[in-house]
Amino acid sequence: MTTTHYAALGETLVQETMDNGLRVNIVPRPAFHETFAQLAVDYGSVDTHYRDITGAAASDPAGIAHFLEHKLFEKEDHDAFDLFGATGADANAFTSTNRTAYLFSTPRAVKENLATLLDFVQSPYFSAKTVAKEKGIIGQEIQMYQDDPGWLLYNGLLNQLYPGEPIAQDVTGTLASIADITPELLYRAYDTFYQPSNCTLTVVGPVDPAEILALVAENQAAKPQFAQELPQRLDDFQVAPVAPARTLHAAVVRPKWVLGVRGQTPLANDLAGTRFQIATQLLLEMLFGDSGAWFQQAYDQGLLDDSFDYDYSVQRPANYLTIGGDTSDPAGLAQAVQAVIAAGADQAQLTPERFARIKQAAIGKYAMGLNAVESVASQISAQSFSQVNWFDYGQLLQDTTLAAVQAAAARWFDPAACTTLTVLPEEAEHA
């Protein structure tokens, strides 16, 4: 058991790795009512090509990780959801490109719910009948996303940044791809990725860390032993051309425009990678943030509004930038953003004064993000497969220099790595 105190943040992190490889992170929060626990698996929608536990190359239908997440709740004679519900706990789960996570929040019966969480995730039950039924439920979910213009824009852009690559596939898959999912495929993926050494458990709340660790240790000792070999993925980081700019028409009210920049180097899961990530986030804020001259001018010209946003996404094996929003003038916004990209490392807005202020804001926002039990648990869990934990972020932010931000600009702004997507309202229909 390792205990680290973060005096500046008023936080404590307790960590331990179980004999079977499961890593546990605990943040005691005595003043709070809620305990939030999340069991995360380093497995997401991109992980469709891998070596299974026999060493054979495996290829799965798109959407299998998300499907597996849905199916894991349902057992032969009960639904795990009801076990949480019986204690009054809220349970949920989600799947992203790189991660599957199962979680609950509760003010009481923490140990009981923790055992339920570990047990239901670690005892799969997939049958032909339940798999068939799930296709109906997930089919509804897939359809709902298709009506969401935000999804259309994001998903469309990913397909241009990564044409034909697994990361461009939607997390839920398609109606056609999930039709191919079988209990056998689910068990194969489960056996490969749900090994305890590929999982982390995060618990934040008014808990006694020693008690929680003892419970987890006892629970895990009673489980079948796993190989403890990390999954071998067959899709690596790639440098490949992006697809050209595209315009599509959809049932939207406002035109939308987004630019993506495909990262040309892999982002390491270590300190240097985290530093680069922070520098990139500050870079975006300095260039496109609403306190800057660029934003003000574009706003005054009616090129953008509050919906304008920018983000740096790191999704193994890829990483990319997105910049865009709703606009009445997609061409004008494109020109304004592309002018910034074309300037490369030579950016007038990267001044020491602006840097100091934006860094101060980032430090404050980081501290504000440490209020809720749930957000702390989510961040600690999200970072749990990285070498840098979330409580180290504040110090790393503090240490970031303007030179690092300038270096990030030089690395990112290559017009050849950019593509854009414009979504326009459909032509008015004529009777």
Partner: protein, 420 residues
């Protein structure tokens, strides 16, 4: 109870060391009036993006960055018959920032709320035109979120006879396009001189120091007559029905019910449990029987708005199944009305409500909202224990009676249409 700074200007301080932030809200409240809703909404955009001291959005944002990334926003909302314009500023607690951010936060609020950018006594014409256009576009684009679109359409249908409640708290795109600078200026003068004001401050603060800062904002005395909050309408014999079509893959079926209830009395708690059992919890009959067992919906839930005696059911379905889903929903309500649910389920639903409530006490937003509600409506539970006691007292008979007081009044379908 809130402290009175001036007649009609009150302060509620909630000192706590639980959080790393201090949250300050200034609520301006007036009787709901559809004629002023759009002007009040546009006013929030103008106040939020500039002031005499920070004349551009960039300058104002830079000041927020300097205050350690303070979160600032102004919005409108309605609580029953009260229209509320609320400015909220959250800052990192002084002890975390190591500087007097609380004092700076009040100075910032004074700058934005009391010294707006008014060259020649008017809002700047270019800024006015741009913010109005942005809001028109934004309001029009709400239809891009089909769930929101269906929710607003159901509300309009349900309250068709009451324009005050039929219109969203932020108005409509059409009304917004017609708002004039004079109307917004009048709305500004109204909130500053006539609206009732409640200031809430939650965080690791010294109440005496906060009182001095809040008084220093300088709001003058105004009417302190209590505002009428709750609103009811007669139950109609018939169900209003409407169907719209849109190029959607997933259709939305929303239902509106009239709910017989008192406000924070025994009936309210019974109605809360009945709604949770019917569709307001993950264990509810709607979730279990409509979504999970029948696989007829991706989502199916109910939400109770006691101040308006109103409950809405929302579902996402296939267009073709709408009649089946509507019948299945009616059947679930009937099961609650006739008591055809297990004692375990009732106990678990109540337990779920209590755990959600207890966890909400970890949220600054919830705690501040409770302070607002307590100032508006008598009977709002003072703490978790009084809430838990009231929920605990709700038995099967009370749940059945409450459900029998839920009457379907409106049914809205946003159906898919074949696109070419």
């Amino acid at each position: 109870m809130p402290d009175t700074l001036q007649p009609g200007v009150r302060l509620s301080v909630l000192p706590t060391d639980q959080f790393k932030t201090t949250r300050i809200s200034v609520h301006f409240m007036a009787p709901l009036d559809p004629a002023t809703i759009s002007a009040r909404t546009l006013l929030t955009s103008l106040l939020e993006t500039s002031s005499a001291e920070f004349p551009t959005q960039a300058a104002l944002s830079a000041e927020l960055e300097r205050m350690y990334g303070a979160d600032f926003g102004i919005g409108v909302n309605k609580d029953g018959q009260v229209h509320r314009l609320t400015a909220t500023l959250s800052v990192v607690a002084d002890r975390v920032a190591g500087t007097d951010l609380l004092r700076q936060a009040f100075a910032f609020l004074q700058s934005t709320l009391l010294h707006p950018l008014l060259p020649q006594g008017q809002f700047d014409a270019a800024t006015f035109a741009r913010e109005r256009e942005n809001l028109v576009q934004y309001l029009a684009s709400l239809a891009e979120d089909r769930q929101t679109q269906a929710g607003l359409a159901l509300q309009a249908l349900y309250f068709a006879a009451e324009p005050k409640q039929a219109v969203p708290s932020f108005g409509t795109a059409t009304a917004m396009a017609a708002v004039t600078p004079a109307q917004v200026l009048a709305a500004y003068h109204q909130i500053i001189t006539q609206d009732q004001i409640l200031i809430t401050v939650l965080g690791p603060v010294d109440p005496a120091a906060v009182r001095e800062l809040a008084a220093g904002l300088g709001f003058a005395a105004r009417s302190a007559d209590s505002l009428t909050v709750s609103v009811d309408r007669p139950v109609s014999e018939s169900v209003a029905a409407k169907r719209d079509e849109a190029p959607v893959v997933q259709a939305k079926l929303n239902l509106g019910y009239h709910v017989d209830t008192d406000i924070y009395g025994p009936q309210f708690y019974a109605a809360s449990v009945a709604s949770a059992l019917f569709g307001g919890s993950p264990l509810s009959l709607l979730f279990t029987n409509v979504r999970e067992k029948a696989s007829l919906a991706y989502y199916a839930s109910s939400v109770l708005d006691p101040l308006r005696h109103f409950m809405m059911v929302q579902t996402g379905i296939d267009t073709a199944t709408a009649p089946r889903v509507a019948a299945l929903i009616a059947e679930q309500l009937r099961l609650v009305q006739t008591g055809e649910f297990s004692a375990d389920l009732l106990a678990n639903v109540k337990q779920g409500m209590l755990t959600s409530r207890l966890m909400a006490y970890d949220s600054p937003r919830f705690l501040a909202r409770q302070a607002l509600l307590r100032s508006l409506v008598p009977g709002v539970p003072a703490d978790y224990d009084s809430y838990a006691q009231a929920i605990g007292a709700v038995d099967r008979a009370a749940v059945m009676a409450a459900a029998q007081g839920m009457t379907l009044q409106a049914q809205y379908l946003l159906a898919g249409k074949e696109s070419q």
